[in-house]
């Protein structure tokens, strides 16, 4: 048991998350091996995005254990309504401090904070709205973060950034600004930006949902190529086709829990759980 956990790149046990006193993630157990391409499907609002954000420590789990690439984060709050989750408390904070997109880390101890940052360095994430940096060119978007975060110098990061741009087929666009890109191109730049940090795991939140059908292909291809290179990837998606064809594991989530997981064929053709069957049938 212990040995197998060491082999797994990601291992999550009993993950709980609350928002404003609402129980959102209700005990998630999850694991992934190196090289897996995992698709997560499920109804809107079931907690998929929240789960991904917890994996990247953008949301701080309230209880459970997350083990990613050799780093283990553990947290166990006794009360369901913690200070941080108490709705009345939160309202107060809202007024004083509008949410500026920062995880509320101030109350966490230094050790936890260091670990969270270490995990973020190993886990790349692609947001639903990409959040490319609008004041930087495509090349800078990819080459500057490693300089800032890891102190690497330009001579190292620029060639690597160009290499990554070639990989996603955008080397011609490196001097453009994000607002001069199409949706699919922006998506691929965002992937390259995440890859530039040399992550061991890539997370995608509905990477193609906002794209025209003909653009979906070019983004999917990037992910399939990464899969061939052995990158571990977790994708939240509503594109069942892609989930079925590309991934080696499909996970069905409902109401903050993982209901069922298995090989795509198994899930799509032969779901054991009634809830999964029902969800797939209405598609």
């Amino acid at each position: 048991m212990y040995a197998s956990q060491q082999d797994e790149l990601i291992n999550v046990k009993g993950l709980h998350k609350y928002f404003l006193g609402n129980h959102i993630l209700k005990g998630i157990d999850f694991s992934a091996n190196e090289g897996d391409l995992i698709s997560i499907i499920g109804r809107s609002g079931c907690g998929k995005t929240t789960f991904l954000r917890c994996l990247n420590c953008l949301e701080i789990l309230d209880s459970g254990t997350i083990h990613i690439a050799g780093i283990t984060l553990s947290r166990h709050l006794n009360h369901h309504i913690t200070e941080e989750n108490n709705p009345s408390n939160n309202k107060k904070r809202r007024v004083l401090l509008p949410n500026l997109g920062m995880p509320k880390e101030e109350r966490l101890d230094d050790d936890f904070r260091l670990k969270a940052r270490a995990i973020r360095l190993k886990v790349g994430i692609l947001f639903q709205n990409l959040n490319l940096f609008p004041h930087m060119t495509v090349l800078e978007n990819i080459s500057r973060p490693p300089m800032i975060v890891k102190g690497e110098n330009r001579d190292q990061t620029v060639p690597r950034a160009i290499g990554l741009l070639e990989k996603v087929g955008l080397e011609k666009f490196m001097d453009r600004y994000p607002h001069q890109l199409s949706g699919g191109q922006a998506q691929r730049v965002a992937i390259a930006r995440a890859l530039a940090m040399s992550p061991q795991v890539m997370l995608y939140d509905e990477p193609t949902s906002s794209l025209d059908p003909e653009l979906v292909q070019e983004v999917m291809e990037v992910m399939i190529n990464l899969h061939k290179e052995g990158m571990t990837q977790i994708i939240v998606t509503h594109a069942m086709n892609f989930a079925r064809k590309a991934s080696n594991i499909v996970i069905y989530m409902e109401d903050g829990k993982i209901v069922e997981q298995g090989h795509p064929d198994e899930i799509f053709d032969n779901a054991k759980d009634q809830r999964t069957q029902q969800y797939l049938s209405i598609l």
Binding site: L100, G101, L132, R144, A194
Partner: protein
């Protein structure tokens, strides 16, 4: 005096330091960026650097200096601008020089707002104040006075043909006077004893009272006799009513602690009095009167002509021809030019303080834990909720009592800088909030620390958003800088007032000063427009 020099030296080293900092910053910018934003910054810092490399006036002189303060925006015959060459002239200028000569010193004039003459004396901005300051018990509790250098009375001035002859004719009438003056006290005392009220209106300057009389708002004005002589006696629309009233003495104001200086100045006054020098000056200004005769015990006849008074009348009496007027404007351009430079120096320096400090305050307000963020909020509210004028007075006149003393320039720049920092902080806050929160998230998810995310991702984007409002603020700062004349800076508005009071040409000089302000603001208006175009958010978001 020592202190004055000391401040000067400090200021000099600060200048040097800021110059070095600018150099460094420029190099850094050149190396780091080539974007449009930084090239604007580059230009700004260049302007700043040029402004500060202007050689400063040297105060070197052989004789020790006796620095004396007065308000050159004041009135004839005390101290005013010679219309022909814009030098400061007046009988007090002559007396100051005579006293200094007597002490083997050099008279060094220091410009100071009249209201601030005694506070300025107490914070050691100069050695003495000589500017028609009446010796009163209240003032004596704050400073020492020399023996009087001039004794005079107050005089009723009425419109030609008015029936008013004396104080008792004033009941039920509207009467103007200078605020906080002997005349005001006389009027209030009379009113108390009278059957019906006197509607006393106090003015910032006697000239305003005369103007209001012409406008029909006043029936009479009670003013110091010299003022009546210089502003009303020759004017066909006015007449002097009755004899002089009461008696008042002007003295040289000296700090309580400077007892030696007090003794020296009294000796000097006694000496110029007995030598006839004082009489000579007063004769030339046509101010020699019965009170002075008695005071100096000098009843001798002398035939010194009232040359200065005649000269003054000549400049007032005849209307200027068009070409004389134009020549006058042309001559005043160098004064305006120098003042414009001061205005720019003050505005640019305080804006740089505001831009940097504002960012720090905004960051503290948004991102620090409550005690600090609350302090930042309190600062912003305090500054925005109180008048700039009061803040300037506070920095210049109150802080020195706690040992913190600035030169007028530093006080002006700190006052305006601290004030505008509060407004800029709010601009930054708006800017920081309008950067989508996903930007911070993206930066954090890439492994950046909060500080790195702020510095490399959030602030650069916010800066673009705040450049247009900040540039607009600079234009209002340019105009607000006129307020620093209250702390003795001679900038554009002050020069405008000084020049206009020489011949009451508020219109002509007003047009010039308005043009200068417009000219100064123009590059920044242009810059604001450019910045708006260049950094407009909507444009950035459009997918092409």
């Amino acid at each position: 005096m020592y202190e004055l020099m000391n401040n000067f030296i400090n200021f000099r080293s600060i200048r040097r330091l800021s110059y070095l900092m600018i150099k460094k910053f420029q190099e850094y910018l050149k190396k780091k960026y080539t974007s449009g934003l930084s090239s604007i910054l580059l230009k700004l810092t260049l302007i700043f650097a040029i402004l500060f490399s202007i050689p400063e006036i040297s105060y070197s002189q052989k004789k020790p200096a006796l620095s004396w303060a007065a308000d050159a925006e004041g009135n004839a015959p005390f101290i005013f601008k010679d219309p022909t060459n814009m030098n400061n002239i007046g009988f007090e200028v002559d007396i100051a020089k005579a006293i200094a000569d007597e002490l083997f010193m050099e008279a060094l004039f220091v410009q100071n707002q009249w209201d601030g003459l005694i506070p300025g004396l107490q914070i050691m901005n100069y050695d003495v104040a000589i500017n028609g300051i009446e010796i009163t018990p209240e003032r004596l509790s704050e400073v020492n006075f020399s023996t009087p250098y001039y004794i005079t009375h107050v005089q009723l001035v009425v419109l030609k043909g008015s029936k008013i002859r004396c104080l008792s004719d004033l009941f039920g009438k509207d009467v103007g006077c200078l605020k906080n003056s002997y005349a005001e006290r006389v009027l209030l005392d009379t009113a108390e004893r009278g059957p019906t009220a006197i509607r006393v209106k106090s003015y910032e300057g006697e000239v305003n009272a005369f103007q209001d009389m012409l406008n029909g708002r006043l029936d009479a004005a009670l003013v110091d006799a010299p003022i009546a002589l210089y502003y009303a006696s020759w004017n066909p629309e006015f007449q002097l009513a009755g004899e002089g009233i009461g008696e008042m003495s002007y003295g040289v104001a000296i700090r309580k602690s400077d007892t030696l200086l007090l003794r020296n100045i009294n000796n000097a006054l006694a000496s110029i009095g007995s030598k006839g020098k004082l009489k000579d000056i007063l004769m030339r200004w046509n101010l020699w009167n019965q009170s002075m005769r008695k005071y100096l015990n000098d009843y001798s006849e002398s035939n010194i002509p009232p040359s200065e008074f005649k000269k003054y009348l000549k400049s007032q009496g005849k209307a200027k021809t068009f070409s004389e007027r134009m020549q006058g404007y042309y001559d005043s351009l160098s004064l305006f030019g120098r003042a414009a430079l001061t205005t720019i120096q003050i505005s640019v320096t305080s804006m740089i303080i505001a831009i940097i400090l504002g960012l720090v305050i905004a960051l503290i307000r948004i991102y620090s834990p409550p005690p600090f963020s609350k302090m930042a909020t309190a600062y912003i509210e305090l500054i925005r909720g109180t008048p700039l004028l009061i803040q300037l007075y506070f920095i210049y006149y109150v802080l020195p009592t706690t040992g913190i003393k600035f030169t007028p320039f530093l006080a002006a720049v700190i006052g305006l800088g601290l004030n505008y920092a509060a407004y800029e902080a709010e601009n930054y806050r708006a800017g920081l909030f309008s950067v989508p929160k996903g930007q911070m998230e993206a930066a954090i998810s890439l492994g950046m620390k909060r500080r790195q995310a702020l510095r490399f991702i959030i602030i650069p984007q916010a800066l673009r958003l705040v450049i247009p409002p900040i540039t607009n603020d600079f234009i209002s700062l340019l105009k607000d800088s006129s307020l620093v004349s209250v702390i003795t800076m001679v900038e554009l508005t002050k020069v405008y007032m000084q020049l206009s009071l020489v011949d009451y040409d508020f219109l002509g000089n007003g047009i010039i000063v308005a043009l200068v302000y417009l000219l100064l603001g123009l590059p920044f208006v242009k810059m604001a427009k450019y910045a708006e175009r260049r950094f407009s958010v909507d444009k950035k978001r459009v997918v092409q």
